[in-house]
């Protein structure tokens, strides 16, 4: 490129005009070739590559996108699945309560979640819930927390247990960090990820102060017989390699009015879930009558996930 072309006051020379034309042609040709190449790839079509952001999809486009996921599921797992994209309900804001005076650290929630939400089982092993064993002497202190505790029985004397999962922040650092708007907060408070939009840069993971986001470093391992066929597009549909995932309050259940899988499995009833805007909901009763706190309050993430002591 000649030195003069950077000076806007001078008109381009005929040589330069021809050059620019050639470059434009090459650009188009390369991009076209790339797209043509993409459309040839298994499971990745031109339509998908050029589709709009999830929030901009019209009803017909959305239907097409969901049908495509169902088709891919059928091809990959040989199973019929139901993939929905049920939206947030008017007047509903989800709230979650976890009674740390009751939790015994049995990890039933961890595995119920894995089963419900189609996480990768082995390598990578992805758990949306991490249960920390902490010492009663130190209180909630991450400097005295153990993830890999493995005693014969729980609870162990002198210990208490502190499960951590996505806190569904009202001020979510992960959403701010995402360069592609692949993750956002929905009206009912659930922070969701569009796995088709995620580029796997993991900025959100480093932004999250709760370690609640997990990356598919390899193709997820999920046995066909364990695939949960009731799926939500922004939730438990199977993920490809190279995307980030996280707890969605079991969006496929919560949006249909059901309790989350972790609430239903908890043997001590330490987990409470409901609508923060309904004064009769269990979560509101917790907020009104118990000692409630949020994790890492000083970071001003304003979680919709509350810890409390019932005793």
């Amino acid at each position: 490129m000649s030195a003069t072309s950077s000076l806007p006051v001078l008109p381009p020379t005929p040589d330069e005009i021809e050059d620019a034309g050639r470059r434009a042609f090459l650009r188009t040709a390369v991009a076209g070739g790339a797209l043509a190449g993409l459309s040839g790839c298994a499971g990745f079509s031109m339509d998908e590559f050029l589709r709009k952001h999830f929030k901009e999809l019209g009803p017909d486009e959305l239907k097409k996108v969901l049908a495509k996921v169902e088709k891919t599921n059928k091809e990959t797992w040989g199973k019929d699945t139901r993939v929905s994209a049920t939206g947030p309900r008017e007047g509903v804001e989800f709230g979650y309560g976890l009674d740390i005076s009751r939790c015994i650290g049995c990890r039933r929630c961890v595995y119920a979640c894995v089963k419900e939400n189609n996480q990768s089982r082995q390598a990578p092993q992805i758990h949306w819930i991490t249960v920390l064993e902490m010492e009663k002497d130190h209180g909630v202190d991450l400097a005295h927390a153990e993830v890999y505790y493995d005693p014969a029985t729980v609870p162990q004397p002198g210990k208490f247990y502190f499960p951590v999962q996505c806190q569904q922040c009202r001020n979510p650092p992960c959403v701010k960090a995402c360069p592609t708007q692949a993750t956002w907060k929905e009206k009912d408070g659930i922070v969701v990820v569009d796995y088709d939009w995620c580029i796997g840069c993991r900025c959100c993971m480093s932004a999250c102060p709760y370690g609640a986001r997990h990356f598919n470093f390899a193709t997820p391992t999920l046995p066909a017989e364990e695939l949960n066929p009731d799926q939500h597009y922004l939730g438990n549909r199977p993920r490809p390699k190279g995307v980030v995932e996280k707890c969605t309050f079991c969006i496929q259940r919560a949006r249909e009015g059901r309790y989350t899988a972790c609430v239903e499995v908890c043997p001590v009833g330490a987990r409470k879930f409901g609508n923060l805007l309904d004064p009769e909901s269990e979560i509101r009763k917790v907020m009104e009558t118990k000692r409630v706190f949020v994790f890492k309050e000083d970071l001003a993430t304003h979680p919709q996930f509350y810890y409390f002591y019932a005793t």
Binding site: R89, E90, G91, V92, I104, G105, C106, R107, R108, V110, Y111, Q122, A123, P124, Q125, H127, T130, V147, Y148, Y149, D150, P151, A152, T153, V154, P155, A254, G257, R258, Y259, V263, E264, C266, P267, V268, G269, K272, F273, G274, N275, L277, D278, P279, E280, S281, E282, K285, V286, T289, K290, A310
Partner: protein
């Protein structure tokens, strides 16, 4: 006795289902919109099953027989007496009706059926009963916006040794419920360390 009991049972059930009255505080509009379409209902879970062949108690205990009310160790019911650890100085007839063994008996002398044992528990553990009625204590399954099944005290606590130890799944009348165990439970496997995932 019978009509009085029926009235009280009805009252207790009403109290359990009734929402706290807040006449002067109208619900905000969004909350009203959030009310479920389906009729909201709370369904009582089945109690855990009795030990085999133990019920009805009147099969052995003649309601007309004279009962020795002395606090003592009995020659039978070892299964219960061996584990009995409920406060201090508690014994069978503190909760079981001396004459009609098929029911429980409150401190005030009311007959309480086994299916409503939470009323008996609530005599001493009033704070827990209060929390349980609004869903803060104990466990509920089903829908957050509609029909939910609430577990009873006895689904998680063995009344003879009520300190929480563990629960196991059981099926009663085709419904999955939980029943208290006498041992602490084993935790599920710990997560893998990153280096273990690499192999």
């Amino acid at each position: 006795m019978r009509p009085r009991f029926a009235v009280l049972a009805a009252l207790a059930l009403t109290a359990l289902r009734a929402a706290p009255v807040r006449a002067n505080e109208p619900a905000p509009a969004p909350a009203a919109a959030a009310r479920p379409k389906a009729p909201e209902a709370q369904v009582q879970a089945n109690s855990p099953p009795f030990s085999d062949g133990i019920f009805p108690c009147s099969g052995c205990h003649d309601p007309k027989a004279k009962v020795d009310l002395t606090h003592r160790r009995l020659q039978f019911h070892d299964e219960q007496q061996d584990v009995l650890k409920h406060g201090e100085e508690r014994w069978c007839l503190d909760c079981h009706d001396a004459q009609n063994r098929d029911v429980l008996r409150s401190a005030s002398g009311l007959a309480i059926p086994f299916t409503e044992s939470y009323r008996l528990c609530g005599q001493c553990h009033g704070d827990k009963l209060r929390d349980w009625k609004v869903g803060v204590h104990g466990k509920r399954v089903g829908r957050w916006d509609g029909t939910k099944t609430y577990f009873l005290c006895v689904n998680c606590h063995n009344p003879h040794t009520p300190a929480w130890k563990g629960v196991s799944d059981v099926v009663v009348d085709g419904k999955r419920i939980v029943s208290p165990t006498l041992q602490l439970i084993k935790p599920e496997p710990r997560p893998k360390r990153p280096e273990e995932m690499r192999q």
